[in-house]
């Protein structure tokens, strides 16, 4: 046989073989799960809810029938969801696949929603952590603790704007970068923090707002000042169509959720972790406390952490550098220039430091280092054995922590000064 013929022949055989693949899936053979909810089950240990597209154009066209194995389905316009009680995720998956005319695929999963009940019972490690092994679910999938039932949350998970749910979810979960009232935790982050010798896990909270805190009637608010960050998830005084809101943070001790942070505490947490990106803050006007000055705040760099150990107790000095832009000055005073500019900076620094200190004390009380201080602490140990023997997570409660906020107003928005309103009636 010609010596060149063998390679040519083999190349042709290879090309033919490679064209057909066992792992190939036709696009219309599978359906992509967009969101997954996990509750404690009634008929079995876990209640698994999956949401996916019906791949139909007309709203309301996707009617999910009753699922097998105790499952149930419900239409959500172009999307539908199905729920099943099962002994494990994978058993539930097979049970759901038995009643869906496509194969469920999790390669484009955009959200894992865990009920708070499950998180507080410390069952997340049992269910969530093992999912990291499953090839279809990416480590970068966002994770949320849901107040109430994850099933109810999935029921309300609709695009509202536009028709693409995956995009809506992605934008919503990443909104943390623009507001800072909740963070961004992925499955990979949670898995890593769960096993961490450096820190404890944190997960953002999602909730359904029943709009009961929105009161249409009653005495008017007046001039009292209330920080918008004081609300907890599901309690924002708002009204509208979309019930879902992401707000606050769930703090874990190992696998068990211990407590919940409100919006302000969450911002402080993100600042200390170096994960705060941006947010509008409201400061009471130092000269006219009945009025406010909104600021657009961004980090000026990563937090600077210095640490030393005395008698085995960590002393931590942390400086949080921030910069800001003035968004509005209700009083019309010249906060754009000194001395009022400095006064405003100092006021914000003091307020933020106070919020940060309160959060640190709260977490020290719970012995939870959720601030990543342990990451820096590890630098002071030569070997992993020494570090693990020290057991950072058990020592955090004794840590002495000094905080400092460095804030500078870099811009004044689109106005360099505020002219007074003539004939304004002063009270």
């Amino acid at each position: 046989m010609n010596s060149r013929l063998i390679p040519i022949l083999m190349t042709v055989i290879l090309a033919v073989l490679l064209a057909g693949c066992y792992d190939a899936s036709e696009v219309d053979d599978i359906t992509h799960v967009l969101a997954m909810g996990i509750d404690r089950g009634v008929s079995d240990k876990w209640r698994l809810t999956v949401q996916f597209s019906t791949i139909q154009d007309s709203p309301g066209g996707g009617e999910g029938g009753d699922g097998g194995g105790g499952g149930s389905g419900q239409s959500q316009g172009d999307y539908t969801h199905m729920t099943v009680d099962a002994p494990s995720f994978f058993a539930g998956l097979d049970m759901l696949n038995s009643s869906i005319p496509r194969e469920l695929s999790f390669t484009h999963l955009g959200l894992i929603a865990i009920s708070e009940d499950l998180a507080r019972e410390g069952l997340m490690a049992d269910f969530i952590a093992p999912l990291i092994r499953y090839k279809q679910i990416r480590g970068s999938t966002p994770l949320m603790v849901i107040k109430g039932s994850a099933l109810d949350f999935i029921r309300e998970n609709k695009p509202y704007i536009g028709t693409v749910l995956s995009k809506a979810m992605q934008i919503s979960t990443r909104a943390s970068m623009n507001i800072g009232f909740f963070g961004h935790t992925t499955l990979g982050d949670f898995y890593s923090d769960l096993k961490s010798t450096y820190r404890q896990p944190v997960v953002p909270i999602g909730a359904l707002n029943d709009f009961k805190t929105f009161r249409e009637d009653g005495p008017k608010w007046g001039d009292k000042y209330k920080d918008e960050g004081e609300y907890l998830a599901g309690q924002l005084p708002r009204y509208g169509v979309r019930k879902i809101e992401y707000w606050g943070t769930a703090l874990f001790s190992g696998e068990k959720m211990l407590t919940e942070l409100n919006g302000t505490e969450t911002r402080a947490l993100l600042m200390l972790r170096g994960e705060f990106k941006r947010g509008f803050f409201t400061v009471q006007d130092p000269k006219k406390p009945e009025l406010i000055i909104p600021l657009d705040i961004r980090p000026k760099g990563k937090p600077k952490v210095r640490m030393s150990f005395k008698d085995g107790i960590p002393n931590i000095d942390i400086t949080v550098p921030l910069k800001g832009t003035i968004l509005a000055i209700q009083s019309g005073l010249h906060y754009e220039q000194d001395p009022l500019l400095s006064l405003l900076e100092k006021t914000f620094e003091k307020e933020t430091k106070s919020e940060i200190d309160q959060l640190i004390n709260k977490c020290k009380g719970l012995n939870l280092d959720v601030f990543k201080f342990g990451d820096v602490g590890a630098r002071y140990f030569a070997t992993i054995q020494e570090w693990e023997k020290y057991n950072w997570n058990s020592k955090f409660k004794d840590a002495k922590i000094n905080t400092q906020v460095e804030f500078v107003i870099q811009r004044t928005g689109t106005r360099t000064k505020t002219s007074p309103i003539p004939n304004r009636q002063e009270e």
Binding site: C21, D23, Y198
Partner: protein, 365 residues
């Protein structure tokens, strides 16, 4: 004599680098992380230095026999019987490396990419490709390695740069990992990672002289050391030590985590490209050198029938290796602890005996 063609230092360097570095894409980084913790990135530099010392013995041996291959040198220095035993041992070592690399490749491919494809299919297709390349010859392999290197390097650097969003410098601490003693011992033993450098002794006649063997050898080792260190550093920055040691293929998962909003995500196909190509080059080079060495030992002029038979052995042994189950990977890693003996100690013995018996000539270069 088998006609293997001639090629330059660049082709040789990329052939060697691809062959050596490919291991970083498999289970090795996780295994090393379980031994030394988060310090594999500089531990491997100890391995590189050890391998450079080991290669110096290979080079000194080749220098005494300019233009000779290792089988002929072994026979000349150690005599017919011991020369045969040493050469066969080296050949089997190369086949063992090829088999293990192929098994590991298939294992990782099945875990991440071809979940449903039978192992025999992946192995079969791969072995056919290796056989084609083997028949096309050493020069083709070397030139292909150089051609693929540019694309692979670009993809490699891209993955490392895109991965920066997940890097955390604090993950490199505690700086001594599981302890300086473990770093040193593992670093010395893991010089086996660079054991493929012995291939240079098999293909030495294809280079333009001993000086070029020396140049290609040292450059290959240094470049491989840097690339392995860089990859391991990237994954050490991406995963804390307690997670890094759990992952089957840390480099793949590192690429999978890259996520820049809705614009840049799911970039692991770039990694797959690098992974597949480097594995292909690596397994082909190891397999070819086994076949070549075998032919040289038994003075067989036509490589093709031996290549065909050896390909069957490669396929069956890799399949058998995989049938051993989940423990196979662990066993491979354990064996790698002693993998430095064949590539570095056998040539060293040949060198010492050659010097004592005053065999070979001084280099004329």
């Amino acid at each position: 004599m088998i006609e293997e063609g001639k090629f330059g230092v660049q082709e040789t360097v990329w052939l060697m680098v691809s062959t050596i570095v490919t291991k970083v894409f498999y289970t090795s980084p996780a295994q090393v992380a379980s031994l030394v913790g988060n310090v594999s990135w500089y531990m491997t530099l100890i391995s590189t230095a050890t391998a450079i010392l080991g290669f110096t013995f290979i080079y000194l041996l080749l220098k005494r026999f300019p233009g000779w291959d290792i089988a002929t040198i072994m026979k000349d220095t150690l005599g017919g019987f011991f020369g045969f035993v040493f050469s066969i041992a080296l050949a089997l070592y190369l086949l063992f490396l090829a088999t293990n690399t192929l098994s590991e490749f298939t294992e990782v491919a099945k875990a991440y990419v071809f979940l449903l494809t039978p192992s025999s299919f992946i192995l079969g297709v791969f072995v056919v490709g290796v056989l084609v390349m083997c028949i096309l010859g050493l020069e083709t392999q070397a030139r292909f390695a150089k051609l693929a290197a540019y694309t692979m390097l670009t993809g490699f650097v891209l993955v490392l740069i895109l991965g920066t969003e997940n890097y955390d410098i604090n993950r490199l601490f505690p700086i001594l990992g599981y302890g300086a003693d473990k770093i040193l011992i593992t670093g010395l033993a893991r010089s086996s990672v660079y054991g493929e450098i012995v291939i240079l002794a098999v293909i030495a006649p294809s280079l333009q002289g001993t000086y070029f063997v020396k140049k290609a050898g040292y450059i290959s080792l240094i470049l491989s050391g840097l690339l392995i260190s860089l990859s391991v550093l990237a994954y050490s920055l991406s995963f804390p030590y307690y997670v890094a040691q759990e992952i089957v293929a840390p480099m793949y998962e590192m690429a999978e985590l890259i996520d820049y909003g809705r614009f840049v995500q799911r970039v692991e196909p770039i990694f797959l490209f690098i992974w597949f190509f480097s594995s292909f080059i690596s397994i082909t080079a190891l397999f070819y050198c086994f076949v070549s060495l075998y032919c040289k030992i038994f003075r067989i002029q036509d490589i093709r029938p031996i290549a065909l038979g050896s390909a069957l052995i490669l396929f069956v042994s890799a399949l058998f290796n995989m049938d051993l189950g989940v423990g196979a990977v662990q066993r491979i890693q354990n064996i790698r602890q002693y993998g430095w003996i064949p590539p570095f100690i056998l040539p060293l013995i040949a060198l010492i005996v050659g010097m004592l018996r005053k065999r070979g000539v001084r280099s004329h270069e």
